[in-house]
Symmetry: C2
Subunit: 388 residues, 2 copies
Amino acid sequence: MTSARPPGRVWAHVGQPFTPGTSPEPLHDVLIVGAGRMGSALALALTEHAPHLRTLLIEEGGLPNEDGATILAPGIWTLAHLPDTQREAARWTLERLRTLLGDDIQARAYLTLHGQPAPGRQPTRDLLAAQPASLALLDPDLLSYATAYEAHTYRPGTLAQTAAQAAIRRGTDLLLNTRATPHPGGHVTLERLTVTNTHQIVTHETHNLRAPLVVLATGAHAPAQAEHHLGVHTRHARAYRQTPHLATPSTEGAPILHVHGLTLRPQHGAYTLIPPIHHRDPHGYVPQGGQLTGVPTGLRRETLEDLVGLMDALPALATPDLHLGRSLADIPGAWLALPGGRPDAAPTHERLDDHAHLLLGGPHADTLGLWTADQLAQKIARETERGQ
Amino acid sequence: MTSARPPGRVWAHVGQPFTPGTSPEPLHDVLIVGAGRMGSALALALTEHAPHLRTLLIEEGGLPNEDGATILAPGIWTLAHLPDTQREAARWTLERLRTLLGDDIQARAYLTLHGQPAPGRQPTRDLLAAQPASLALLDPDLLSYATAYEAHTYRPGTLAQTAAQAAIRRGTDLLLNTRATPHPGGHVTLERLTVTNTHQIVTHETHNLRAPLVVLATGAHAPAQAEHHLGVHTRHARAYRQTPHLATPSTEGAPILHVHGLTLRPQHGAYTLIPPIHHRDPHGYVPQGGQLTGVPTGLRRETLEDLVGLMDALPALATPDLHLGRSLADIPGAWLALPGGRPDAAPTHERLDDHAHLLLGGPHADTLGLWTADQLAQKIARETERGQ
């Protein structure tokens, strides 16, 4: 263990000259590309497991990034869809979430709803007896049975910000509004971005850095970066997930409801819908709105079909409360990484080459992401200690 | 039963005036849109089950249509991937194929290859002892076990043509090079197409027909036509399937090989590859080539990934024998209907409204398509007899 380090430096915009130093030797041991929740969590975990390493966290947007999957993630920690082998990692993540977020994480009931009875299921009417507003969302004759799970909700954007700030307090450097392109050999090209008065994003200045270790934590973009810039082909994939708004009022204690893959998450006094991801989107797919009985919508067709298929079981979806939008821009959506190309895969990390790691969150990042980031930090700590 | 009818009329190009008659009453009882194998088979089956019905078969291209899924279908009848419940329908289809195609259908061995032993599997080296060229395609240490199935190969384009011609001999009318747009109430707009001397396809003349019954048999396009023109939403979907060429020589008696979803079909002294379809393509997806280590290919990325994943087991795929192409146009490909959105679904038909049926082939049309077309013909025969 080294002695406590002064807080890291933060370069937020191009007005602050980026001076990582002029030494020919790299001034950082680790460059983390992407300050979403996975990259930020890794930065923080590295300050714990490998405090001797000097880390620079680089983010193309701000903190939190408004464009990435982190800001639109549901923020639901739950055991509902996990195999037993991942429960320990989930419990560890929950403890960590509590430490980082304090009162910003809230316990909330989580009900999966079904048409048929089975062991562990109770009558939906009984479980929702104290929540008449929730019961009114659904048809209890079609969704007569439910299983209750433990769940906790939080804001993933807040998590990314909290973790990054904690890391900075412990010495991590942060470079915002900067696009990073990895190259073989631990080289990274940095483009510091600025916005012109015609709202174009342009490169203000370019830097070339080198570090013994680069971690790509840019979410759904990371596999493409690994392939295009490092020449490492992976089987990871991505899917474009939209999270439409359902304006039906929700109360403070309303449970999360899960019906045939669709999650209704109480949020801001209404609901955010998190539709199922059935499979990857093909290479080259451009997200686009669908049509409902001839009327253009912002919701993609596949999601629209899923919602239409659930309108009998969830009559609230058939009301004007469901915001369909008119064009893609009307519906919040983001590219979500699918580790290994699978929608049910846990977060993962892997070594790309001698100088680079990949860190991927994906659909289960809310429940398991912090654990995976910690695992990678431990691995990096072991390897760098061995190398010294 | 009515007495034998004279052969049907054929309008092949716009030089032949289309004169279905000027009576205000419809002159045809059934309009079949699409003369792929499903539409053609239905036309023929109707001459058997409902010889009293006057049928017009309408095709946007020629016979066979060079653009549709029929011409690129593998033409493999096999029980290898069928549940027991569909075996009878498959057997019926095989008998029918034999009747229609005679010597144009050939028995051929079909081997599914596996890494592990299991009941019914034999050592690959034993099964391929008499086929050293087939054995040389694969690594028998990785694909050590195989199951042999009965299979028969034929050309689906020939089947469509043969069935349509047989139907015409029995009185069905045929209208080629004509785009048909269905409307509610049994109305259909026909655009007779012609090609200008600058190779543009233009509408030469337009007709409006009406018939008590319209059958959409336009393959992957049919669900979109049902939705856009008849307002009937279905859950059918489609996928773009490419069938790349493997130039490794195949002998006359070479077996069909099936490895982890990929089928290698001996054809024209080489192989045609039929890649697995994992799931539907999303609405709005535009087929496009992928990249292999930075080099653009005509093969879509998802298929390329599957082939790369099989290169150890099938070393032939790692040789220049595999035609990757440079752009999409280099690789034969077509949109394939996925009944119910499922890649493993059997062919199906369904009523769309009082005047329209949908008839879909899809991935199992080679093995089950004729049976499904016959089922729809029987249903139409029953309903029209009852209605008379």
